[in-house]
Point group: C2
């Protein structure tokens, strides 16, 4: 992969762009002018403020549109009191280049990147919506399993020791090592804070007060999350997206695009796969909170669980296909597995490797669920359930499942065991609901 | 740790130094002049050619002596046909600085480093000898267990996630990522070649022909070594020495000095601990080949096995002491293990962590043994056994033990199980000896 920031025309010292600034800046970039068409004065520019961290502008011209993302030197959601390095735009761009090469249809095309301005201009995704919103609306996405499993298999396999030489891999690890401020957010908000008293934690009170307290006192859980944290910090298996929830996926019924890889770094593969699966499970268990009449969303809910199974099964199948045909890396040298018996033994080892990866996936999926209910950043799957008690019921079911997935990980030997457990909990009532 | 190469006076473009060159070069360095005393013309300079990779000069003056190590752009043992980057001198220097800070008495003091010349001048270790030679002579070293366990505990703990923030750790990983050419030597010569046909492999023929062939066809072993290789490549647990055999340790009865960390990188801790233990086991099983009368070396042999146990037990004890008192890293946050119950649960987890680390240690120790008997680089513990059949018997015992340690690793739950198995094999006779 290309690990160098590309020098581009039009680079400028950092300043936060306002609309007028941006118009002048873009007018100096031939590729952008050509994409938008017309004269700069004809372009509409609106800041959509969609993310928690950055400025995002939608720019439309007579011929087409673009999205422009600029990093701020702080967390947008919180303000200047929470500084965050601009370099994240550099890592996001590196990751986008990697993903575009390996999964070209599945990420937005980069039209322009300006390192000093921490700015990237991309194709505008229209009429795509954030997948999480679609799921809340009970929309199923027939392309999703196929696309996300391709994205995962391609991006993870080709940045792993199975595809790269150890030297290439170490170059990649070093190239992303500087993105540690973004990793630190994950380390704190996912792997630590939900399990202790932290100012930023919140949950649906008073219903979940007892569960939140129980999680803060559950030492088995603290050991399990600490092991996962250590794995997150010190298992550079592949270049992971690092924030692959359903809010980082834009969809139509016929297209899937993965966006916002600014948390990218070399980490455990299961973190990405678990993010997808954990967020789909939340979509499933939040669904009851959005139904206006019993059973109304049953076919959607069935689809979500099929998608959970499909994501793992198709990822696993595609990853194995790549391993069997594209294993040019330093891991598992072909010369040690020559002949028919060697091939059979290596295939058995591949299955064992996937079984270990599945265990990681289950654990990380659980961690992603818990942080969305007891930590700082919640998701609208639950937040948009207006009836707070009903929301708490959906959240309690999710927490019960996640806790079990984290503590009894080895008992989940197949993805079917996960969806079975989720289905069982769909109608479970916590004490406060009885 | 200090991750930048220090600019020093007297830096010069790279050239291979001859004796006269070196004299002039050193005469320009006040710290060296002061260490040696007298005038440059008074100094004796001899190239001792002790290593496989580099030039090593001993320089002595009226006041004192120094050792000067210069990297060559190729493997000295093989010649220019096997190029090897000079940057290894940079990584060696970085590692020495790290080790000197954490285990100050246990590494040679660096007097001067010249990056472009790939040259480091160190205190001369006198009257120290290479530990391997002492072990061949049946000398026991009463300080050794205490010193090496301190070296291991200090250098590994303080570069781990238990002592560092994730950001510091990633900086360290990145700082050593470029040393991949040295890692590649290990990946090939330890984790791959002994298990396949490779031109450079050799063994004590004809006695070990059948065993070598069996290892090349043993698919269980190929899976096990491939898992260890993957761990070596993708488990940056701590800054490891990377080549910690008894030839990288210089000793007197009262001092221990670890030298030659040019293979240093962030890797699995068990690789260093296993290197020490594997090499001690070879010293033990080679001992029979050096005895002139039965039982002559019995007390030495008993000491070696005590040392094997001591290395693990003392390392483990010291590492745990550090973990309990110096855990300022991002792993296992104290806030998740508050109170008496929390402390007890964390202590149980520490024991579980050490148990996992012990498993790694057993596997890597086995890998280190096998490569010395079936691979390219052999060791004089065996090579100096003049009777080739007797040598083959000692090697066959070692291979039998190593194979079992690698395939049945979980059955070795304590270091006592390892020494018990070694002791059992001390008098075992392979088929060709019967």
């Amino acid at each position: 992969m290309d690990l160098q920031a590309q020098p581009t025309s039009g680079q400028s010292p950092y300043r936060i762009l306002r609309e007028a600034d941006l118009r002048g800046y873009l007018a100096g970039l031939p590729a952008i002018v050509s994409q938008l068409g017309g004269a700069a004065g004809d372009w509409s520019i609106s800041e959509v403020g969609d993310g928690n961290l950055n400025l995002v502008f939608i720019v439309k011209g007579p011929r087409g549109g673009i999205a422009v993302k600029q990093a701020l030197p702080y967390v947008r959601l919180v303000g200047e009191s929470w500084p965050l390095p601009l370099s994240r735009a550099h890592y996001e761009h590196l990751a986008l280049v990697h993903q575009a090469r390996l999964a070209p249809r599945l990420v937005p095309a980069v039209l322009h990147h300006d390192g000093p301005l921490a700015l990237t201009a991309m194709e505008l995704l229209e009429p795509h919506i954030i997948m999480r919103k679609g799921l809340i609306g009970a929309v199923s996405y027939p392309r999703f399993v196929e696309d996300i499993s391709t994205f995962l298999a391609q991006t993870l396999f080709f940045s792993s020791d199975l595809a790269l030489s150890a030297a290439e891999k170490k170059d990649g690890i070093a190239a992303f090592a500087g993105n540690h401020a973004l990793c630190k957010i994950t380390e704190d908000l996912i792997f630590t804070d939900p399990y202790r008293i932290a100012e930023q934690n919140h949950w649906t009170a008073p219903w979940l007060d007892a569960t939140a307290a129980a999680f803060r006192g559950d030492l088995d859980l603290h050991v399990a999350i600490s092991r996962l944290k250590l794995k997150f910090m010190a298992s550079p298996e592949a270049l992971v997206h690092g924030d692959l929830h359903t809010g980082s996926i834009m969809v139509t019924e016929s297209e899937t695009k993965v966006i916002d890889p600014e948390f990218a770094f070399y980490g455990p593969m299961g973190f990405d796969i678990g993010a997808v699966i954990g967020n789909l499970i939340m979509a499933f268990l939040a669904s009851a909170g959005h139904e206006r009449s019993p059973g109304e969303r049953a076919s959607f809910e069935a689809w979500v669980l099929e998608a959970v199974e499909g994501v793992w099964n198709e990822f696993s199948r595609k990853f194995l296909v790549l391993w069997r045909s594209e294993a040019k890396g330093d891991g598992y040298p072909a010369s040690l597995f020559a002949g028919e018996a060697g091939a059979a033994r290596l295939e058995a080892e591949r299955q064992a490797y996937m079984a270990r990866l599945f265990q990681d996936t289950v654990g990380f999926a659980a961690a992603k669920i818990i942080r969305r209910i007891l930590g700082l950043a919640h998701n609208i799957d639950f937040e948009w359930i207006a009836d707070e008690k009903q929301r708490a019921i959906c959240e309690a079911r999710s927490l019960k499942l996640a806790r079990n997935m984290m503590l009894e990980t080895p008992s989940y030997t197949t993805i079917g065991a996960v969806t079975y457990a989720a289905r069982e909990l769909r109608h479970w009532q916590p004490d406060f609901a009885r």
